[in-house]
Amino acid sequence: MRLELRDIHFRREATEILRGVDLQLETGDIGVLVGPSGCGKTTTLRCIAGLESITGGEIQLGDRIVSSAGYSLGVEDRRVGYVLQDNALFPHLTVADNIRFGLRKLAAEERETRVADMLSLLGLRGLERRLPQDLSGGQQQRVAIARSLAPQPDLLLMDEPFSNLDARLRTELVGELRGLLKKLGITTLLVTHDQHDAFGLADRLGYMNDGQVEQWDTPYDVYHRPRTRAVAKFIGDGVMLPAIGKDGFWHTELGNIEDPAADGSADLLLRPDDLLHDDDSPTQARIVERVFRGADFLYTVQLPSGLRVLALAPSHHDHHVGETLGFRLANDHLVVFRRD
């Protein structure tokens, strides 16, 4: 079901935690919110679920306003599933009873079918009589997802669903989860601090900072066309390259870049993949740090001005700290942040 947040404000005591949050999520889409801790991601989810009452704005689910200033539809009546951070599985109930918990309004027969469906959908067959404490982290995660999905909510919210898992399990579950959510066609809003999870899952990616959504776009656009410096900094690696605009060119330490709009002083966002290693290039700089990442090297090189930039090189280009490295600009589009 379609979700829309319009100018959400939330205040706890004197602190304004949400300062005008806007976002729209179309039916069946997966939205992901990223951002530094304390930016209001979790609070946004809690407001959507009705666990917090907003102090301004409107939350619309389908064609129904569920929250506005002074009004809040009861949590238990919202039909929103929420996988809470660290799962909150009831420790005294078995896997099956946990999943069954939200199904008491169904007839007994239908209820058992639903539980069985959920168990097989999430690969939990055979674990129905176990208690949560006897499950691995990944299994607990699946039970929590199954429990939230079982009542067939109109919207699924997930808060850091992978935070307790190791890296391998994480990658595995991210892929599985996207497949599952798409199969069920369920509208989902997820919060994470890990951008790899975000890229793997999102149809829409939002960057939150200081109680506001600074950008709400496709993951591709958030990465390649960041709207603010904060977004550029948080998503992906990158360096700001000072530039002076004159005569249709940006003049930088790494050479001149054509841009009809070039004017005044600005910073250009330079991603590691915008700088390619090239031994024959006239631009040379000293390597100050290198990280071997398996498939490639990520070099940090220092320009004569002291500015450090990142450059990617294929795995067999093994240079050492202190050597000079040749490279050239290979950016196919420009991200310009003007200085005022």
């Binding site: 009831f90 939200g102 429990r147």
Partner: protein
């Protein structure tokens, strides 16, 4: 190897009294029944056993209802006075059961002004407090705070996220409390209930003051009235079997509690609407009024009329003896439990693992049973112990060892071996390690252990009564004697001293109970 041998010896010595008592009881059961016991069997024991069973059951149920309801109100809701009641509901713990029984007997007796007024003006006769029901009421009012405290801590530590998860799955707050919070807290409440049942089973002072025949009073009479050791020991056997069953229940429940531990943001209280809030305040006020305020006011007014006549030099003697017994006993218990926790830490051999639980299980054994079970074998083997305080102290240590042991064990648990190893690697000497690391971290626990045992020993009645040298009187004994003579008002002065002492450790008690869950 030497360390292990020494550690095992400490543990064995600590467990020895319980072993002696149990062995004596088994021996008594193997002895053929004499005339005295046949008399008991026929005329006394059926009634006494029945009364004991009813008493324990009613007190357990009453404490659960009262304690859990109050705990749920204080932990989950907000109402006027909540912050005060949160700790205020522990105040009844400072009143020993037999003191409350004295107050109730004195103020609600047939000849009391209140009762006469009700009978003459309103024409209503309420049932006598000197009955099984009265004893159950008194014990419930003094013991419910145990359930209240443990249940409150269990409710408060159940994380907010469980309530939220339940409401996201379509439950109202009340439904979520019933379906999630209550089952989560159930093991802790069960453990507390078992503890309360043990105390009710062990009670001697209340039933004696209210003239109710139970197994403990039957044992007292067999011992004092008929001088029949075998009979007393056989009755004691009954009590011990019941106590051990309760102990088993408590231990099982505690294991379940450990599996339920949950972290996370604690509960947000819900503000009650005016009418329920008023009812909640009223309920807590009435409970606290009946269990604490009213008896204290009565004691104060009685004491003020009798203090001039009664407070003579003899009272300094009672006070001195009470404080000496309690102080010395507490000191011994702190010393032994310190040795004990270190021995347990140093050694995980089978002797330690097997006998350590026995040493800490003494609190389950009623004081009357310990007194009889230790006095007879010890004075028979070493007759010169008669007329000394030796048996009394051994029984004190056995029954109250767990009270001192709990804070010491909790304290030492905060001192992992790695800390010792770190200090050792930095070149410290043993004495220096104790002075600079162990003592600063343990002194709080030592103080808590001392105060908690001290106050429990001040209030202790049956062991003191049964094992003291002839004519040796303490404050508790004085209250008991005056009560059995019907001189309730004169018992107020020594009783107040005990209540005052009981107020002292409430802070620690709250801490200890929350550690226990």
């Amino acid at each position: 190897m030497l360390a292990r041998w020494r550690a095992s010896l400490v543990i064995l010595l600590a467990a020895a009294p319980a072993l002696v008592v149990l062995a004596g009881l088994v021996g008594a059961w193997l002895t053929p029944a004499g005339d005295a016991l046949q008399h008991q069997w026929r005329y006394l024991l059926p009634d006494a056993s029945r009364n004991t069973l009813i008493l324990v059951t009613v007190v357990a149920i009453g404490s659960v209802l009262l304690g859990t309801t109050l705990a749920a109100l204080v932990a989950l809701c907000d109402f006027p006075g909540r912050r005060f009641f949160s700790w205020g509901l522990l105040l009844p713990l400072s009143i020993p059961g037999y003191v409350l029984a004295t107050v109730f007997a004195g103020s609600l007796d047939y000849s009391s002004p209140l009762y006469s007024w009700l009978r003459e003006e309103i024409g209503w006769q309420w049932p006598s407090i000197r009955s099984l029901g009265g004893a159950a009421l008194v014990l419930t009012l003094t013991l419910f705070p145990y359930v209240y405290l443990i249940a409150r801590v269990a409710f408060e530590s159940a994380a907010q996220r469980y309530l939220e998860a339940a409401s996201l799955l379509g439950r109202t707050r009340l439904q979520a409390t019933r379906e999630v919070l209550l089952p989560l807290a159930a093991p802790a409440i069960l453990a507390a209930t078992a503890l309360v049942a043990m105390e009710a089973l062990a009670d001697f002072g209340v039933v004696a003051a209210l003239n109710v025949d139970t197994l403990t009073t039957a044992l007292y009479r067999a011992w004092y009235g008929m001088f029949s050791l075998v009979t007393a020991q056989q009755i004691a056997g009954f009590l011990v079997v019941m106590a051990l069953l309760l102990l088993l229940l408590e231990q099982r429940a505690r294991q379940a509690v450990r599996m339920r531990e949950s972290g996370g943001i604690s509960l947000r209280r819900r503000r009650l609407k005016p009418l329920p809030a008023t009812l909640a305040t009223l309920f807590a006020t009435v409970t606290l009024g009946v269990a604490f305020a009213w008896p204290v006011v009565h004691l104060l007014s009685w004491a003020s009329t009798h203090v001039a006549a009664d407070l003579d030099t003899r009272y300094w003697g009672y006070l001195l003896r009470s404080v000496t017994l309690a102080g010395l006993g507490a000191l011994l218990i702190v010393l032994i439990s310190t040795l004990f926790v270190y021995a347990r830490r140093a050694d995980v051999g089978w002797v330690t693992r097997g006998f350590a639980p026995l040493a800490t299980a003494g609190y389950a054994i009623p004081g009357t049973v310990l007194a009889v079970g230790l006095y007879a074998p010890l004075t028979q083997t070493l007759p010169w112990l008669q007329g000394t305080l030796f048996v009394l102290f051994i029984a004190y240590i056995t029954r109250f060892f767990a009270v001192g042991h709990a804070p010491m064990a909790a304290g030492l648990a905060r001192l992992p071996m790695a800390l010792d190893e770190a200090a050792l690697l930095l070149g410290s000497r043993p004495l220096e390690r104790w002075r600079k690391i162990h003592w600063p971290m343990l002194k709080g626990s030592v103080a808590a252990a001392f105060v908690l045992t001290f106050v429990d020993l001040m209030k202790e009645l049956p062991i003191t009564l049964l094992t003291r040298p002839f004519g040796f009187e303490t404050l508790a004994i004085r209250v008991f004697e005056l009560t059995s003579e019907g001189e309730w008002e004169r018992a107020a002065v020594p009783a107040l001293a005990l209540v005052l002492a009981g107020l002292w450790p409430l802070k620690w008690l709250a801490g200890r109970m929350s550690h226990a869950t």
